[in-house]
Point group: C2
Chain length 174, copies 2
């Protein structure tokens, strides 16, 4: 008896799906955010399980510094498509953790040359399995072929939209 009135008062929370012309939850933008949210969580969990404390950006920056010793911050930002103002803080933390060094450039006194330290190299080497495991986990709902196709489509969409964000990818000029 009481049960009836209670049931009647429950708001119909699924109304969005039926009423809205376009469900915000099914828009490309929302799917992009959600997938990235999961990707970051998986990355951090795998890396922490391996005994390290490194964020996705920090990993990308460190790997890029190792591959391009002595590069400056703007170039680094372009190579991994981050805003240069974000990179400032990321490098701060890599330096503070002893994984990278920031030196004044002799050629351009405005610029800082970035180097990876021995500990940074060691960290990078030992963290790789966790990073690769994370990539597998975030695609675990897809077959190998579907995973490849997802990556192909993302690459294509990203290439077409590269200049739409403040921090586009800048290919190296070598």
């Amino acid at each position: 008896m009481l049960t009836i009135s209670i049931l009647v008062n429950i708001p119909r929370l699924s109304a969005a799906k039926e009423n809205s012309v376009s469900d915000p939850n099914d828009m490309p933008g929302h799917l992009a955010r959600r997938f990235q949210q999961i990707a970051v969580a998986v990355f951090l969990a795998e890396v922490e399980d391996a005994g390290f404390d490194l964020t996705p950006v920090q990993y990308a920056a460190l790997a890029t510094i190792k591959a391009n010793p002595g590069l400056d911050q703007v170039t680094l930002a372009g190579l991994i498509a981050y805003d240069r103002t974000t990179i400032t803080g990321v490098i701060d933390r890599l330096v503070q953790k002893g994984l990278a060094e920031r030196r004044a450039s002799s050629r351009d006194r405005r610029a800082r040359e970035l180097e990876i330290t021995d500990e940074g190299r060691r960290t990078l080497r030992r963290i790789t399995p966790a990073v690769e495991s994370a990539q597998r986990i975030m695609l675990r709902g897809l077959s190998a072929k579907e995973g490849e196709e997802l990556m192909r489509l993302l690459r294509k969409a990203i290439a077409a939209g590269n200049d739409l964000s403040r921090a586009p990818l800048r290919e190296s000029q070598a």
Copy 2:
């Protein structure tokens, strides 16, 4: 003549691509971040061009409040897969802009019931073309079929990884 020595001194910035076993720039996690970065930039640009000041989260929250009047913050967070601590700030700003209201719940004194205001409703209605335009733009590099396939794969990967982030999607219980 001078040209020769200059060319020789240019660092080989593309070394990453050839040396690394796995290019960080081509990992699923990086592609996810990059696509989302573009999606957010496009959303904000389109919305601003239309004369509004609303972020993607704010839009999603407002649309969900409109579709589910009187819902509480935890339920809202679950419906759009955001952490409840993030939602606190988002609602703060929606309230401050006069687009939503936060009322004490009569049934549960811990909870806040959320309502959209008339101005919120008006904003939502007038902003819709910009939001939809943004979704098209972020997929502009893909054919219609490819866009559909990308969304299908994202949905599938997200469904499989739903519980891997702190803020999983919680379907309504209606």
